[in-house]
Symmetry: C2
Subunit: 249 residues, 2 copies
């Protein structure tokens, strides 16, 4: 069990209590204990029927109103999706686990799984530092939710890969990563980069880029400082448009 307490399994709006129980059993099988649920606030009795010998995990479940709150303390968030979309990078399970290995062994990791039918929303996937899919033979069917959780945890717990060649600094926790993204967007806003027709697109893109970087505190400070500098320079120049025009030539 040792070493797995830094991992949390986060189920977002699960429909089936049996699947929650099956996920809890998979956690017990593989040595994980931290179960969090988003969007519902209690477990129905059938969850206990499938959580064989994993009752204590169900009893320790914490409930959150939003994914952001559920992963706020995680330095690394991995979001699972069955649908291969073209609008963001997606890696197979093995590669996602490799990514965990690149970060300090003390980094808290959130493993996020969406609703059985609808999966995670675009916004929720956008919050993940790494988006992964579990390889499958054809588009249909997707893995059962409890099975997907167990496949993922089994791979983390027992599939020893080569040690990572790349060592990264500890990222900010998720809440601080989100906050850095918001500050960056505010700066873009103050520069007049965003207007009604592109705002949603830019907000998504910035969130996507920020979470994919899994920002460290230093990354954040450097990026925001650079941007602040650029912003100050622009403000200094703005009152003197002729000089600005000259500089551009």
């Amino acid at each position: 069990m040792a070493g797995h307490s830094r991992f949390a399994v986060i189920l977002v709006r699960p429909d089936s209590p049996e699947n929650v129980g099956l996920a809890a059993r998979g956690m017990a099988n593989t040595g994980f204990t931290d179960l969090r649920i988003v969007g519902i606030d209690r477990l129905e009795p059938p969850a206990w029927r499938t959580a064989v010998h994993a009752e204590s995990i169900l009893e320790g479940t914490r409930f959150f109103p939003s994914l952001g709150k559920a992963v706020a303390d995680c330095e690394l968030v991995l979001g699972s999706t069955a649908r291969v979309r073209h609008d963001f990078p997606l890696v197979p399970l093995e590669a996602a686990i490799g990514r965990i290995g690149e970060y300090p062994a003390s980094a808290r990791v959130g493993l996020v799984f969406g609703n059985e039918r609808t999966g995670l929303t675009q916004d929720e996937l956008g919050r993940a530092n790494v988006r992964f899919h579990i390889p499958q033979a054809s588009r249909q069917p997707s893995y059962n939710l409890g099975v997907a959780v167990t496949l993922t945890l089994h791979a983390i717990a027992f599939r020893g890969g080569p040690p990572p060649t790349l060592h990264r600094d500890m990222p900010l926790d998720h809440a601080a990563q989100a906050e850095a993204g918001r500050r960056f967007r505010d700066m873009l806003d103050s520069l007049g980069f965003m207007h009604e027709t592109n705002r949603a697109f830019i907000v998504d893109k910035v969130q996507d880029i920020f979470f994919r970087m899994a920002l460290t505190a230093k990354d954040r400070d450097v990026i925001l400082a650079m941007f602040r500098k650029a912003l100050e320079g622009r403000r200094e120049r703005e009152p003197r448009p002729t000089r600005t025009r000259k500089e551009l030539t």
Copy 2:
């Protein structure tokens, strides 16, 4: 899907139709289609509830009265057990999959899973060429049956290991391996090696050794020929006990 038609999933006396459905869904997820069930002769309706998009696999299920009949056409039989017993060799899932890779890519492989609570009997495990367990964090709980099937198939389908360094000849099919074992035991019997107090033990041991070898036709012919020779030699000597005694000095 190509290449997986040589694999059969064999469930022995499954209690829960939901688990059979979950196993079928896991087969569809990973590209396998050949489902065989031992000890029951029909599927109850709840199997269809959990077999999302895997109905055709359930419809194609074949039912067998015994494990021997269910795996008769398989050249390689892998038996799963959650209990680590000390009376026969047991390898982790990864190693078991490595063993499949040592044999010709046309070898038919039976993957055998026992009842949810009681597992496979000693005799059934004894029929497996390779006995494996899926690594888990602690003794309890074991993996759900449908999850165990999916973990195994996912590992076969998607976990590319290094190519095997060892290439083996095609084993006999399971029925022929069993027949060779029986002929060997008959020979032992005719030699007077077996008596009431050790018969069960020797029968088990011989079966264990024969299946672990995953005998090829050549292996069988050599072993039986060698043994026949030894037997003939002994018969020739038996009428002349004095000479036999001399030879032993």
